[in-house]
Symmetry: C2
Subunit: 196 residues, 2 copies
DNA sequence: TCGTGACTTTACACCGTGTAAAGTTGACAT
DNA sequence: ATGTCAACTTTACACGGTGTAAAGTCACGA
């Protein structure tokens, strides 16, 4: 299932990625992906047992190619307000690379339990970053007294959701720069103690 | 199609509403709704031409029963910061009543153009409320200098999205009161000029 | 040369949506 | 009482998408 010719597997993942990212208003079907990868629809099932697992593998593939870990690690070196800004910029800047795949996964959630689990898993990873960023604020005494650390992490996580990004950049037509700047300001305003 | 026995139509809408709202992790099917309404699956199509239109009618039905207009109108009477708080409380308090239906509609968007249009239409209605709330802030000179009126409306609209509500209350386990309080604070912090 | 792995082709089961059409039932009008 | 009409049921089926199954092709290497 995953021990076969790796180049085909990667061709499939790249094809799925490309299709899911570039427009593709209509739901991307297995046959679309197969065609784009230059193989038969059935051959897809030689590499991935289901559409849900193909989507999950695609997100992991994108993560690997785009090296999300390195990007986020970078944001961890800053301190105080700058650290929050850096985290927002790092994750917010990554969303455009994966939103197509994530949205496809989210659309399956309603009916497919496996897709739901995979989506939750991915989102949990982001939440850990939020928790860490909030912990840094707390340590420096910058956290607003109105929120507990958990609440602050939840709020930041929500602010940085793919849905929020999609609404502002896709539906409202904001540029990526506008989005990042607004999220940085909003996160600071919502999470940090406002000293004159 | 809509001139028949109105009680059956309403039974259908109530059944759909109830199913969509109460848990129902699995996608709610036409046959589920028919069963719950006590009629055959085919009879559903005597009242609604498609699943998408049934969902749309269900949102309108909920709006009518819960009198969303009256609730929102109330928030328009306040002024300044209180008006923003009132709008957030009014709409934020309404979301729990409709989130099931809206989410079902959102899930169809990916594949069904009609569902997409219906969803966009509903969301546009909310946006108008946001524009009005921001206009009130602008008129009173409370709007932050960091945002244009359009940007502020977009941001408020995003803050008040069903997705944001769902993430905080469903995924993070916040109470409705926690949600409303946090959104009021965040909206104020993000949209209003911060005078000492 | 034999086998094996990667893939194709064909066929089909399953689900959910939507269409089509014939049959049932009860209310109401004449 | 008879007829008709609307609301609904029942049965059947087409369509599209996912996933399973199995036989066939083909190239590469031991």
């Amino acid at each position: 299932m995953s021990s076969e010719n790796p180049t085909t597997r990667i061709r499939i993942l790249d094809a799925a990625w490309k299709l899911l990212e570039s427009g593709a208003a209509r739901g991307v079907r297995m046959s679309d992906i197969a065609k784009a990868a230059g193989i038969s629809r059935q051959a897809l099932y030689l590499h991935f047992p289901s559409r849900a697992e193909l989507l999950v593998a695609t997100t992991r593939h994108v993560d690997a190619v785009k090296d999300v870990d390195a990007r986020l690690a970078e944001s961890r070196s800053a301190t105080g307000p700058a650290r929050l800004d850096a985290f927002v910029a790092a994750w917010g800047g990554y969303i455009p690379e994966i939103h197509g795949v994530i949205r496809a996964l989210a659309a399956m959630m309603e009916t497919d339990a496996e897709a739901r689990a995979a989506y939750d898993d991915r989102m949990a990873a982001v939440r850990h970053g939020c928790v860490a960023a909030v912990a840094a604020l707390t340590a420096e005494g910058c956290l607003t007294p109105h929120l507990s650390a958990d609440e602050a992490a939840d709020l930041l996580w929500t602010l940085l959701s793919v849905e929020t990004w999609a609404r502002l950049t896709q539906d409202c037509g904001w540029t990526q720069a506008q989005y990042v700047a607004a999220m940085q300001r909003t996160a600071r305003a919502a999470l940090m103690r406002q000293e004159i």
